[in-house]
Symmetry: C2
Subunit: 301 residues, 2 copies
């Protein structure tokens, strides 16, 4: 039985960055999050792909110990994203999105997933996020949600409803500003907490992340990467590794949540070093612990 269930997209991406160009590579929020989580736990994946989804990607997921019982293979083509980044790698530009099988996706949790103590409602329509939460047999110990500008613009009310339902609301700085109509991130975070999320986490791309609860906050700076090839999926890796670490340690103390955020940042920083999640393929726990210790050293004063 997976300790962590991850809902989101599994996609095929065409991506151009100042450092190269790749076609038809493995991507999607749930893909990135589950690969990142797999360093710590064996997550259960809830997503949909089409008949065209390459076998090698499925085999890769399974080789990572990821439970794919919740990965539906539907008639039609896999969700596709075509995008690029210019010099400012914090800003993704979409050329084309083809929803394909994702358009009619009705997630159905395998029975074994329904008692998982950790649930990640990754970037997908808020209606589906609420639907999946409703399928759990009992309230998980920790539910975390993500979202994106696309849904904030079209389904703001439902996005706010998700924020109200979950324990940890995660979003990036631009999304937080848009959702709460304020330029001030601290105010946006306070609005999240007012909506009854216990914790708000604002991702800031290469600038790291900030966690807010009550009147306290915790900031992780971005890891100063010399080689960034593709920032796609970094936020999902952050979420996946963070929850993977929590699912493994089962300790929700403030101290351990802080550690989890740093592990999330570590895996996200590795992931940005190459396209798709290629940089995670050869990665060991020793590498991860090594960079974790670097984070410790580089914030110390």
């Amino acid at each position: 039985m997976p300790q962590l269930v991850i809902l989101g997209a599994v996609a095929l991406d065409d991506i151009r960055t100042p450092f190269g160009r790749r076609k038809n590579i493995a991507g999607g929020s749930a893909f990135y999050a589950s690969v990142a989580a797999s360093f710590f736990t064996k997550p259960g994946l809830v997503a949909v792909v089409g008949k065209d989804y390459p076998r090698e990607h499925l085999r890769f997921l399974e080789s990572r110990g990821i439970d794919t019982a919740g990965l539906e293979v539907a008639a039609g083509n896999t969700f596709r994203w075509n995008g690029f980044y210019d010099f400012d790698l914090n800003q993704a530009h979409t050329v084309k999105t083809e929803l394909n099988v994702f358009a009619d996706f009705q997630p159905m949790l395998p029975e074994a997933y329904r008692q998982a103590p950790f649930l990640f409602l990754g970037n997908i329509s808020p209606q589906l996020q609420l639907d999946v939460l409703g399928q759990m047999r009992k309230r998980p110990r920790l539910v975390m949600s993500d979202t994106m500008d696309y849904y904030i613009k079209r389904e703001r009310k439902n996005v706010l409803k998700v924020v109200r339902e979950v324990d940890v609301a995660l979003m990036n700085d631009g999304e937080a500003r848009m959702l709460f109509k304020t330029p001030n991130l601290v105010r946006a975070a306070r609005e999240i907490l007012k909506l009854d999320s216990r914790i708000a986490i604002i991702k800031k791309g290469e600038h790291g992340a900030v966690l807010f609860y009550d009147n306290r906050f915790f900031a992780v700076p971005g890891y100063p990467l010399e080689t960034v090839r593709d920032p796609t999926g970094a936020g999902d890796c952050f979420a996946g590794a963070m929850l993977g670490y929590l699912a493994k340690t089962r300790d929700l103390s403030e101290k351990n949540v802080r550690k989890a955020l740093v592990y999330g940042s570590v895996v996200a920083s590795f992931n940005a070093e190459d396209f798709s999640c290629d940089a995670l393929r050869g990665l060991s726990m020793t590498d991860i612990r090594g960079r974790y210790n670097e984070f410790k050293r580089f914030v110390q004063f």
Copy 2:
């Protein structure tokens, strides 16, 4: 004899932010830097103002213990900047710049300044920065420079020459990317170090700052401010407080330089809470130490 000499602009600003609008307020890189430094030391100011510069601002500088022997009062009007910020407070937009007396400024260091162990070559033309450095009787223990996009576009070679001459090159992320023509901040920082600066500091506005030396780095996240009224001068306050602290403690160990960066961040964060340096007027060392300790707590894991 001042332990820290600060070169830069003293200006009168018209500023609009999403939180208000002020006309004719005290500003300029050297103004902000010396007020920030004055919490730690009695800096000597090198700048020029016109006959129109309000007496109250001069009295304010003197009330802070700032040595104004190097502040020339020239015939003509004070340098004026008219600018605004939109929702993205990291981005200043210039409406109009009137150089006025600043156009023909030929800094002349008072004799008492020429042996100061700490020198800040604030945001001003690189030619003047080099000229002032040349007026020192002996090489100061630490010389730090700042610059801006205006000079990088027009006098790139001289800006690089300044970086080569100083011990600490400070600039913001956009300027570092522009100067070294790379989207990657770590690479830009390495280029600075290759030019023989011992230390590179990249300011990232609300996202904090990163210090690089050799293969090590130190990151200070931005302080999550609930009230930001005007970010103008935050970078100059950062530099002023940092150098003020170093001039007071005279300890250039890595450990103390890290502390100095945090003190810089603390004073800069207070400064953004109001227009001009109004938020620094009522500030005590107890307030500063309090926020310094908050920084400690919010990066700890």
